[in-house]
Symmetry: C2
Subunit: 161 residues, 2 copies
DNA sequence: ATGATTATCTTGATAATCGAGATAAAACCA
DNA sequence: TGGTTTTATCTCGATTATCAAGATAATCAT
């Protein structure tokens, strides 16, 4: 391999390791944040999912979180009691229960992430717009990869049932 | 604000949102992976922590994971029984218990992340070395930010005890 | 030395999760 | 249409991760 290629290879290895480290910190952060908010890890995770997906059914939530249907029922009970979500019967298919996130609470959650967001924004200021575009493109790429990997894992899980 | 600045601002907002989305997927991935490996979320998280820190005491583990000392005892019991770690008395301070990860198991864990690592590596090939360096620098920067935020959250937690 | 502190473990209680069965709505189909 | 099957959620009893408080044992400080 040429010297340049070797160099690139090394950068790449380093990047993979760093992404892994970043992932671990993200998991810890989420755990810490849930604790600070006085909810279980699962509940914050669910609120975050709903924040991105918008209203979804209990079944979809079960698939995404990997929880049993019984656990999802309990989970929704908790979130409903604490005002994070609303249960609604799906008018199209009345077996289904649609879980709708409640805006007010979503904003409260977002507020908890403000410090992290600010610090990150601050760090971005040192970059040129071109660099930011490269970084953004990369993040979007790894998001798609993650989606694919998660999809695979969810499918595997369903096979074993 | 100038037109260029506006553009940059927009990219930045987009990046922040994407990072948040990436974070959620990371949490889900870790959860899915733990399930696939047949361990609880906490156990995989702990193994990952140990993989990065190397041997640490039960107390440090308690601080990092946010678990009570009792839970950490149970956690280590589980990990020891399944061969992920070893308990050793610290020779310097014999109250302490040092938790040492077991290499063989760590490799098995790493193997589970192989698919993700490969896909990510693949995605990186489209970038020049210069771009990779920029991305790597960014990831390292957000790692430091995460460390700082986590440190803050852990400190807060300790105050309330 | 002795009292205070620190690190981990033990124990009983709580609550999140599971798994299997119940219920009810929708889809299928003869 | 009526009856069977499938699907979506819920219920309930059992399991287990977690907590909180107290026990134990080693270290530190005076």
């Amino acid at each position: 391999m040429s010297r340049d290629k070797l160099q690139k290879q090394e950068t790449l290895d380093c990047l993979l390791k760093s992404l892994h480290k970043y992932g671990m910190r993200t998991v810890l952060f989420q755990q810490n944040m849930a604790q600070k908010m006085g909810v279980v890890h699962t509940d914050l995770k669910t609120a975050e999912i709903l924040n991105e997906t918008g209203p979804i059914t209990a079944g979809e939530l079960s698939r995404i979180t990997g929880l049993s249907s019984g656990s999802v029922t309990a989970l929704i009970d908790r979130l409903e009691k604490t005002g994070y979500v609303m249960r609604e019967k799906d008018e199209e298919d009345r077996r289904k229960v649609v879980i709708t996130p409640i805006q007010k609470r979503q904003k409260q959650i977002k507020a908890h992430f403000e410090s992290l967001a600010e610090a990150t924004k601050e760090a971005c200021l040192t970059y040129t717009e071109e660099e930011l575009v490269v970084i953004l493109g990369f993040v979007e790429k790894v998001i798609r990869i993650m989606d694919h990997e998660n999809e695979k894992l969810m499918a595997e899980r369903e096979e074993n049932n």
